[in-house]
């Protein structure tokens, strides 16, 4: 995984990364992969927030 720091520029290709997920539909853990999104030709919205159990 690329250890890029401090933000990506608009128009730049997002480096590949994977994250473990909790998938509420399957009620199971899974993996999100940026490369898989590209392979599947899918748009992606990444939504960051500070913490679970707070007041998003």
């Amino acid at each position: 995984m690329a250890a890029a720091c401090c933000g990506l520029k608009l128009g730049a290709k997002v480096p590949d990364f994977q994250l473990t997920t909790y998938d509420p539909v399957k009620d199971d853990f899974g993996t999100f992969s940026m490369q898989e999104q590209i392979n599947n030709k899918r748009w992606t919205i990444l939504f960051f927030y500070p913490a679970d159990f707070t007041f998003v």
Partner: protein
């Protein structure tokens, strides 16, 4: 609209599971909740706060080629506007189909006024172009 939403925080997937099952406000959530406990991906997107170990309120739209098209980051105390996010997303989809058009600030949805073939002829004449 052919888009995958994924939420990310520095909590683990175990906490995501517990939160989803405990908080009734999340009853309708269907998107995957990603765990970034090391902050690696949060740092990559520039939303990691070293002072707290938490991710700021960032939202990023990435097209099917993997190119970053929009970024919005708010501090802890300001929520994001979902209508604006949807507007930006719809505009990106529209412009990916109509590559000679651009969406001005008041564009909300398909059918709204766009600027077609912006170029030398439109310089200083944007007001007129928006009236047509």
């Amino acid at each position: 609209m052919g888009c995958d939403i994924v939420t990310v925080s520095t909590d683990t997937q175990f906490v995501h599971l517990a939160w989803k099952k405990s908080e009734k406000e999340l009853a309708n959530v269907r998107y995957p909740m990603a765990a970034d406990p090391t902050g690696t991906v949060s740092r990559m997107f520039g939303v990691y706060d070293d002072a707290t170990g938490l991710a700021l309120r960032g939202v990023f739209i990435v097209n099917p080629e993997g190119t970053l098209l929009n970024a919005e980051i708010n501090f802890y105390n300001l929520g994001r506007n979902i209508d604006e996010l949807l507007r930006k997303f719809k505009a990106n989809i529209y412009m990916s189909r109509k590559t000679n058009e651009v969406c001005p600030s008041k564009w909300k949805d398909e059918g709204d006024k766009t600027l077609v073939n912006p170029g030398a002829k439109m310089v200083g004449k944007v007001h007129e172009a928006l009236q047509v």
